[in-house]
Structure formats: structure tokens, C-alpha cells
């Protein structure tokens, strides 16, 4: 064992420790900084308020059941012990099928049409009036017409959701075409690319970030329209489950259904953000 150097000697011989320089920040800009913690506190605050309000009888059970009751009704719905007798998973899969069928169909039609509108004045002239006309209409306004045309089965529901997804997707693809620079197009031309090659190898990749944003907005509209679509002659589906529960004043099932729809929509948005990072890592960097 080596003999320990006396403390006094070491501190006398050691070079003076440099004083750590305190860190600094730029003068504050409105809105800067992280907000995650505040959001978490807000969510728990709201849950706590809910719990207190229901347990101390501030709000009647029929308007707002206790959080535990929502949880119980989730279990009941899962086992199919609610009105209608279908398990939650069946409602869930049917709704998922309707939204995704409509969304996929919207992607394969709206994206090419939007790009065509961006690159061709003829396509723009043809598609602009109908899309701009129906885009601001609320889906509930044209739902009766869709029922008259397509009947009350799956087709009508998918068409309604499809129309809701279509417009934002087409608009996004059309706007995305604008994000290509004239230099990128001219560079491609001067390297021997043809017009079609410029569209497929320059304009479409450049439009991809906006198209993906459009997909996020489009699927959001799809979920929004789901309940409207399932209002007519549906026997299964999350929207139908909520509407049906409201007829029986099962507020707990209504709230549970809303939470499930919100949760699925949020999960899909997270997935889309992941796809975005994967497909367009250059977004906002070039």
C-alpha cells in the first residue's frame, strides 16, 4: 500500500482549480422553451378536477360519470356487455377499416390529381372548381345526398370519409409542387432530363414533405367524419357505439368511445410523424 499523500500538501501543490464559468442564455424570445412539463401538469390537473367534481357531487352522474366508471365501462364494452352486444374490438376494427379504406383510396386519387393540378394548367382548370366548391361544405350537409346515391351500406360511409380526406390531400399535393425551386428544375433540364423526368424525379420528391403533411391533415378529417358516417344505418363502429350509447343515456360509454377515437387518431398521427422523419429527413433543412 502506498502511503497517502497528506491532504495539506496536495492542496498546496495542486494547480488552482479554474473557476467554472457560469452558463448564459440569449435574451428571451416570446414562446421559447419547452412546454412538456406544463402539458403533463395540465393533463393531471384536469383529471384531478374531474375526479373531485364527480366525487363531491358538483356534477350529476348523468352529465359526467366518475373516471372509474369510464374505466369500468371500457371493461364492459371490451367483453361486449353493452347495448348492441358487440365487443369493443369489433367496433374498433370496423371503424378502422372504414377510415383506412377511405384514406388509402383518397391517397391514390388525391395525390396524383393534386400534382397534376400543380404541373398542368389544364388539370388545374378542370379540378379547381369542383374541389374548391365542395371543400368548405360540412360533410353532414352532403351526407343525405350520399345516402340517396349510394344507399345505406358500407359504400356510403366510405365515400363520405373519402370526400373528407380528399380535399386537404389534393390541396397539399398541389401546394407541394410549389416547393420545388426553379433552379432545381433548370438544373435537371440542363443535365438532360425530359419534362416527365422532371415531374417524377424532381417535382414529386420535392413535394413529398407537403404531401405527408396533407396525409396527416387528411386522416384527421377522416376521423372527424367517422361519427357522421356511422350515424346512418350502422350496426357497428366506434361512432355508432357512441351514438347508440347516447340514446340510452350511457354517458360513460359515450366518453369512453370518444377517448378511444381520440387515442387512435393520436396514435396514427405519431406514426405519420415517424414516417415523415423516415421519408423526408431533409424537411426544413434545405
Amino acid at each position: 500500500m502506498s502511503t497517502p499523500v497528506p491532504d495539506v500538501v496536495r492542496s498546496a501543490e495542486a494547480p488552482e482549480q479554474p473557476q467554472p464559468v457560469p452558463t448564459t442564455k440569449g435574451y428571451s424570445i416570446p414562446g421559447e422553451g419547452r412546454s412538456t412539463l406544463i402539458s403533463i401538469v395540465t393533463v393531471f390537473g384536469l383529471l384531478l378536477l374531474w375526479w373531485v367534481a364527480t366525487h363531491y357531487g358538483w356534477i350529476r352522474d348523468i352529465f359526467l360519470p366518475t373516471p372509474e366508471k369510464i374505466f369500468t365501462s371500457f371493461g364492459e364494452a371490451w367483453r361486449g356487455e353493452i347495448q348492441g352486444g358487440k365487443p369493443l374490438s369489433e367496433h374498433f376494427w370496423w371503424s378502422l377499416f372504414r377510415v383506412f379504406a377511405a384514406f388509402l383510396f383518397a391517397c391514390v386519387t388525391a395525390v396524383p390529381i393534386g400534382i397534376a393540378m400543380g404541373v398542368s394548367r389544364i388539370a388545374r382548370g378542370i379540378f379547381d372548381p369542383p374541389i374548391e366548391f365542395y371543400r368548405p361544405l360540412p360533410p353532414l350537409a352532403y351526407l343525405p345526398l350520399i345516402v340517396i346515391w349510394f344507399g345505406i351500406d358500407e359504400t356510403a360511409k366510405i365515400v363520405l370519409i373519402y370526400l373528407a380526406c380528399f380535399a386537404p390531400l389534393a390541396m397539399a399535393a398541389r401546394a407541394g409542387v410549389r416547393s420545388v425551386t426553379i433552379e432545381q428544375i433548370n438544373a435537371a433540364y440542363s443535365m438532360g432530363a425530359s419534362k416527365w423526368q422532371v415531374i417524377f424525379h424532381v417535382i414529386i420528391p420535392a413535394a413529398l414533405p407537403e404531401i405527408l403533411t396533407g396525409m396527416r391533415i387528411g386522416i384527421g378529417f377522416g376521423w372527424t367524419t367517422l361519427v357522421a358516417a356511422e350515424m346512418v344505418a350502422a350496426t357497428v363502429g366506434l361512432g355508432q357505439m357512441v351514438l347508440n350509447a347516447s340514446n340510452f343515456l350511457r354517458t360513460d360509454v359515450v366518453i369512453m368511445g370518444i377517448l378511444v377515437i381520440g387515442g387512435v387518431a393520436y396514435a396514427f398521427d405519431l406514426l405519420m410523424r415517424y414516417v415523415e422523419r423516415l421519408l423526408v429527413p431533409w424537411k426544413g433543412k434545405a
Binding site: T181, E183, Q184, N186, A187, A188, Y189, S190, M191, G192, A193, S194, Q197, H201, V202, P205, A206, L208, V280, P281, W282, K285, A286
Partner: protein
């Protein structure tokens, strides 16, 4: 270092002839703007023509006409016996910025034109790597283009234009967005590439010093209407190739005298309030 082309080699290479080119832009309410008026210019292989002038003197319009992005209102541009009608791979263009494809990596950007013309992947990658070596970027071949510096991005732009092995290199203020130090390095690189390839270079700049350093023929353009006001035959670029000493070339009394003379010309030209500085 000096390498002379044999006569047959010179004959094989094309010549660029710009004859009586005028460009008249259609403006609003029936008025039009004469951006270029009766431009005549001839380039032989190995010529390095630099167009210098204040904003609005039509130098970018002239480059657009040569590149084929714009059709002259009058006159014609002939390259290697063929009249220019639209863009083509025999005229490579280097832009000031925003011209790379961020969804492709460095090599894919350089190989883009070859891919468009159906060159097999192995072959175009080999060519791309060769061009990247020439601009000193072989280590960055697999980088995303948005992760390299502005100077490197411009070198990717150079390599990309070279990859098509064009007859003419057209450069629209390629160094305009770079900081002064990077800019001087790039000037030397461009001279090297010009000397190695013996291609025709057409280069646009605001900087008198840059123009004098690079050019074999310097054209001073003046606005409204855009035309060539003065022409100089200079050889400071060749002197750099011989001596590899840019500072000495730029400190040469002759270089300084010409620089002051041209600056004087630009500042005294009509409508040159925003005229360039060196």
C-alpha cells in the same frame, strides 16, 4: 504543368457562337423591357469568359439564353454547329444556390443527369466518384447534401455539371453566397477544373477581382439596354496555373491597375447606383 491540346483535339471540340442576340421581356400594360441588345460573343474551347456588371445588366439573361432556359427574341446561339433550342446536357449549369436535390445524397446528386440519360448504376457511380475526387469531396460521397457546408454544396454543383461532360460550363454567380475565404479557394478550384478539362467556361460575377482573376476574356456589361460595353483579354488565370500563387497574381501592379480601371468604368456607367464592388 502546361498542357497544350493538339490541333485535331481543338478541331473536335465545339465552338460557341452568339450572334446578334436580343431579349425583349413582355412587361405589364404593353410596355416591354429590352434586357439584352445585340450581343455578339464567340467562345472557343479553353476560353474562360466572365461577364461582369451591375444588377440588371442582363448577364443572367444571357446565361439563360445560352443554357436554353430562355429563347432570344432575336439572333441565335450556335454550339458546335447546332442551334441552341432548349436546355441540354452539352451545356452544364452551376447555380448560385437552391439547386441540389436534398432527397439524394452527394453521389446521387452528381450522378443525377447520367441516371436521367439511362447510364447503368455502376458506371454512373464510377463517374460521380471521379468527379467528386476532382472537386476534393471523395470523403463526402455518401453524405446527405443538407449536412455539408455551403462551399461543399457548390462543389457538388460543379461536380454534377462536370459529370455530363458538357462542352460549356455556365456558372451563374456560383460563389456569390460564399464567405470571402471559401470564395478564394473555390476560385482556384474552378481555374484548376478549367485548365484540366479545357472546356469553355462562361461565368457571371459581381466581383471585379474575381472576374479579373478567372477570365481569359472579361466582358463588362451595362444596363438598359443590356449590352457589352467593354472587352478585356487577360491572362491572370493562366499565371495562377503556372505559379500557383493567387496572392502574388492578385497583387500584381497590372492586376490592380485593371481592377481600378474596370471599377471606374462600372461606377461611371449610367444607372449604376447599385454597381458592384470588388
Amino acid at each position: 504543368m502546361l498542357r497544350c491540346s493538339s490541333p485535331s483535339e481543338v478541331f473536335r471540340l465545339a465552338k460557341l457562337q452568339i450572334s446578334h442576340v436580343s431579349v425583349n421581356y413582355a412587361g405589364t400594360s404593353g410596355r416591354s423591357t429590352l434586357a439584352l441588345s445585340d450581343i455578339n460573343l464567340a467562345l472557343d474551347p479553353g476560353d474562360f469568359v466572365v461577364a461582369l456588371g451591375a444588377s440588371g445588366c442582363g448577364k443572367t439573361t444571357l446565361l439563360s439564353c445560352i443554357a436554353g432556359f430562355m429563347t432570344p427574341s432575336q439572333g441565335e446561339i450556335v454550339l458546335g454547329g447546332k442551334r441552341v433550342a432548349g436546355p441540354g446536357a452539352e451545356r452544364g449549369v452551376v447555380f448560385q444556390k437552391h439547386a441540389l436535390m436534398p432527397w439524394l445524397d452527394v453521389t446521387e446528386n452528381v450522378a443525377f443527369g447520367l441516371r436521367m440519360r439511362g447510364v447503368p448504376k455502376a458506371e454512373r457511380t464510377r463517374i460521380a466518384h471521379d468527379k467528386l475526387r476532382r472537386v476534393g469531396l471523395e470523403k463526402f460521397a455518401n453524405y446527405p447534401v443538407y449536412q455539408i457546408s455551403g462551399g461543399m454544396q457548390q462543389r457538388v454543383g460543379l461536380a454534377r455539371a462536370l459529370a455530363s461532360d458538357p462542352e460549356v460550363m455556365l456558372m451563374d454567380e456560383p460563389l456569390g453566397a460564399l464567405d470571402a475565404l471559401t470564395r478564394e479557394q473555390q476560385q482556384e478550384l474552378i481555374l484548376e477544373l478549367w485548365w484540366q478539362t479545357r472546356k469553355m467556361f462562361f461565368f457571371i460575377t459581381h466581383s471585379v477581382e474575381e472576374a479579373l482573376f478567372l477570365a481569359t476574356e472579361l466582358i463588362v456589361m451595362t444596363p438598359s439596354p443590356g449590352r457589352i460595353a467593354h472587352r478585356y483579354r487577360v491572362d491572370f488565370g493562366r499565371r495562377f496555373i503556372e505559379t500557383r500563387n493567387a496572392r502574388a497574381v492578385k497583387a500584381d501592379p497590372e492586376f490592380i491597375r485593371l481592377r481600378e480601371e474596370i471599377l471606374q468604368l462600372i461606377h461611371s456607367a449610367p444607372g449604376s447606383l447599385e454597381a458592384a464592388a470588388a
